[in-house]
């Protein structure tokens, strides 16, 4: 760690209409340091990043780079100053090769005017190797696992002359092993004396990889400290203003009758011969690597995808969904893993989104009952503690975590009795995570069936009554809570018999 900060932000203020996102915060990062940035959903983390990257303009305050004051108007300029950011949505062209993605818009030409492919692939390979990623640069992005796609996005963003690299929730969809690969990349960068900002809601990662950590709360700076001088409980306390212990401690019910019974479910190309059952009052976990087919199984049950064969019973009656309309009619609520693509109408209001699947119940002769519409919106904004200036706010303007809460609110609002949560806590802060876990407990206690898909092992292990493990579209085990062990689960999840 050098003497002068690479970047130093002072008294940064940023207002959005109706929202004070940053109220005069300080933040600085030194070369060769991994600096964690944490805070509740809507605390202003992404906003300060976007100000550094020239995406948003600050209202007041100053930014210094290597001690000199700078003005960052746009992303190109930020790049010139050596700043790079890896956002959660990866921005890769799926049908192009890794090499093409690296040089997109800037393909090198030979004298003849044709593209110099040799150069493209050699350079790409070199950059990847530099970060210790071994992969053929001719491969298409769509052929890569999500984790590898993320690595490619990182390698693409991080140029040799990057001096500050920002990671905004990079591990949200990665499994333990993949996180390790990411951490290796970060360590490589660190050795090159690059300054690193690391945003995450998984606090143990902060302790694993960060040197210092800064905490924001409601747009204000709370503390900056060496990671060694603080423990997780103190961190949480500073973040949410109260103690949260025993994150996964929830009451478990004695299970009731079978609510869902699934037999030999097959969807060609996705999964085969899946059989399981879920009982009333049960939290049923689904663990497996990203891409193992967990999501596809649930989508088929919900009615979003077609099945090749197999049968489903709901409450003892046969059920053959043709579309999500059928699933919803039978009381299934489905929280998709990709909220932006599948969960939300980003251009519409919070109110509209919460009511999205309930309008069928709150109308008279097709006229929307606006009183109900408003009161339901308010109820779930309150219940999910969604941070928004009003129910009329456009959902796209909410912070990532708060968007996720809106989708959950939608299914609560629809009064479902089978909840399928696909990665429900991705991007959600500890306080809100705890609230979502309590909510699951509450749903189970009310006799509803809860299916929890998660790539985050502590979460599935901590909450589930039973757990199904999926490997490459096959169900490799259904374990009882008393048999949960990390080793055993991971073995089943990676297909080792």
């Amino acid at each position: 760690m050098g003497d002068t900060a690479f970047i130093e932000l002072n008294q940064i203020v940023k207002d959005f209409p109706g929202v004070k996102a940053l109220k005069g915060v300080d933040f600085s990062v030194y070369p060769g340091e991994v600096h964690g940035l944490i805070g509740e959903n809507g605390a202003g983390k992404s906003t300060i990043i976007k100000i550094m990257m020239g995406v948003h303009q600050k209202n007041s305050g100053s930014i210094k780079i290597n001690g000199d004051e700078v003005i960052i108007d746009n992303i190109i300029q930020a790049g010139r100053l050596g700043l790079a950011a890896v956002y959660q949505d990866l921005n890769l062209a799926m049908d192009l090769s890794i090499g093409e993605n690296f040089f997109i818009g800037n393909l090198p030409k030979k004298k003849s005017g044709l593209v110099n492919w040799k150069y493209v692939y050699e350079e790409t390979e070199k950059t990847l190797k530099d970060l210790k990623i071994v992969i053929d640069p001719r491969k298409k992005i769509s052929e890569l696992s999500p984790a590898m796609q993320e690595m490619v996005a990182i390698a693409k963003t991080v140029h040799l002359n990057s001096k500050l690299v920002i990671f905004d929730e990079p591990t949200a969809l990665l499994t333990n092993e993949e996180v390790e690969i990411l951490f290796d990349i970060i360590k490589t960068l660190k050795k090159r004396n690059v300054a690193i900002v690391y945003i995450s809601h998984r606090l143990e990662e902060i302790f694993d990889i960060c040197d210092r950590v800064t905490i924001f709360k409601d747009g204000e700076w709370v503390d900056t400290t060496d990671v060694e001088e603080i423990d997780e409980d103190q961190l949480i306390n500073k973040m949410v203003g109260r103690n949260i212990t025993e994150m996964y401690n929830i009451g478990h019910q004695s299970p009731g009758d079978d609510v869902i019974r699934v037999k030999n479910l097959t969807r060609e190309g996705n999964f085969q011969n899946i059989s399981f059952d879920v009982k009333a009052g049960e939290i049923f976990g689904f663990f497996g690597l990203v891409g193992s087919g967990r999501t596809e199984i649930m989508r088929a049950i919900f009615g979003a995808d077609k099945l090749t064969s197999g049968s489903i019973e709901l409450n003892g009656k046969p059920y053959k969904p043709k579309s999500p309309i059928d699933g919803i009619k039978k009381g299934i609520g489905f929280l998709p893993e990709d909220r932006k693509e599948q969960g939300l109408a980003l251009a519409l209001s919070v109110k509209h989104n919460i009511n999205l699947s309930s309008y069928k119940d709150i109308n008279r002769f097709s006229f929307v009952d606006k009183k109900q519409e408003n009161s339901r919106a308010d109820k779930y904004i309150d219940k999910m503690s969604i941070k928004t200036p009003s129910r009329r706010q456009t959902v796209g303007n909410l912070s990532g975590g708060n968007q996720q809460k809106v989708v959950i609110g939608k299914w609560l609002c629809n009064d479902s009795n089978i909840f399928i949560f696909d990665e429900p806590t991705v991007g959600i802060d500890v306080g809100a995570k705890r609230e979502i876990y309590k909510l699951m407990e509450e749903l189970a206690a009310a006799g509803k069936a809860v299916i929890l898909i998660s790539s985050y092992l502590p979460e599935v292990m901590g909450l589930s009554d039973r757990m199904a493990v999926i490997y490459e579209g096959n169900l490799t085990a259904v374990l009882d809570r008393k048999d949960f062990s990390e080793e055993r689960i991971l073995k089943h999840a990676s297909g080792i018999k």
Binding site: S323, P324, E341, Q342, A345, S357, K360, S366, K410
Partner: protein
């Protein structure tokens, strides 16, 4: 009211800019052309605008849903020819009108079927319909005008109520009805949700198949109304009626703030857009401005208004 004015000032009302521009142009024209604010000119202006205005409202539904309907002009032609042929053959007026409405709505629904079930992009699907429907018109009319319509029918467009042409009141009725549908009903809510994110709408249990049929059906239905009004106004069934209307209708919706990427747009915006374009054309004619220059200015208006709208959205 105060709240409304404040919202207006902050640029939160999408139609704010449009209303201001419209008022400014009306004042300018009133000053520079003595003919502009005469009863005759206004009546004429309203008659012209009402017809395209009805088509533009149907188009607004389609655009909000993220689609586009290029077949409106041709379907308008179908309405004109079918209704006049039936009337000439002696069918009662109201029956002729109903048949035309049913046929045009069905043509719209066929667009919806091609788009949803056939998975053909709206641009292509309705381009096909545009060509085919015009072909049908030419075929059944032998490309000839249909004359000899009943008096009562031709007179309708000439009637004025409270000094305004009857066509205007039809448009007004359409405006009120569709305003209510888009802002007060479940269909309206689902329409915006679908336009904003079709996959999220589907996974939220919205029946996007019937919604798609409905949207294109409405557009076809509006074309029927417009086609019948036009036939009455021209006292003849015209096979080429409505040619080029698709572009005018899209322009009105877009100037009114609808976005071709779906999820946004309002009925009132489209009405203002249609009025603005019509007034520029009408005023320009009165002032003796070269019609080609007028055409250029309408083109510029379309692009500029979208640019302004993008700014407004980015700043909010």
């Amino acid at each position: 009211m105060k709240k409304l004015i404040n919202k207006f000032k902050e640029g939160k009302i999408a139609e704010g800019n449009l209303i201001l521009i419209l008022i400014a142009i009306i004042i300018l024209l009133a000053i520079f052309s003595p003919k502009f604010l005469t009863a005759n000119n206004i009546k004429n202006l309203v008659r012209q605008t009402s017809i395209i205005g009805v088509v533009a409202i149907g188009m607004t539904f389609v655009i909000i849903s993220g689609g586009i309907d290029l077949s409106v002009g041709s379907i308008l032609g179908v309405a004109s020819i079918i209704s006049s042929m039936l009337m000439v053959s002696g069918l009662p007026i109201f029956l002729a009108i109903i048949v035309a409405m049913v046929v045009c709505t069905l043509l719209g629904v066929i667009n919806g079927i091609i788009v949803y079930d056939g998975k053909v992009p709206p641009f292509i699907a309705t381009l096909g319909m545009m060509t085919a429907a015009r072909g049908i018109v030419m075929l059944i009319s032998n490309a000839r005008m249909i004359a000899g319509l009943p008096r009562t029918f031709s007179n309708f467009a000439q009637i004025t109520i409270l000094g305004m042409p009857s066509l205007f009141f039809v448009w007004l009725l359409v405006i009120i009805a569709t305003f209510i549908v888009t802002s007060q009903t479940v269909i309206g809510r689902n329409l915006f949700a679908f336009g904003s994110n079709p996959e999220a709408a589907r996974l939220s249990g919205i029946n996007i198949r019937t919604l798609t049929y409905f949207i294109y059906g409405i557009s076809g239905f509006m074309c029927a109304i417009a086609g019948i009004l036009m036939t009455s106004r021209l006292s003849n069934g015209i096979p080429t009626a409505g040619t080029g209307y698709e572009l005018d209708a899209i322009a009105a919706a877009v100037v009114g703030g609808a976005s071709l990427s779906g999820g946004s747009g309002t009925i009132i915006g489209t009405v203002l857009g249609a009025l603005l374009i019509a007034i520029i054309r009408n005023g320009g004619n009165l002032l003796g401005i070269n019609p080609f220059i007028l055409q250029i200015s309408v083109g510029v208006l379309i692009v500029v208004s979208v640019m302004i709208d993008q700014r407004r959205k980015a700043s909010v």
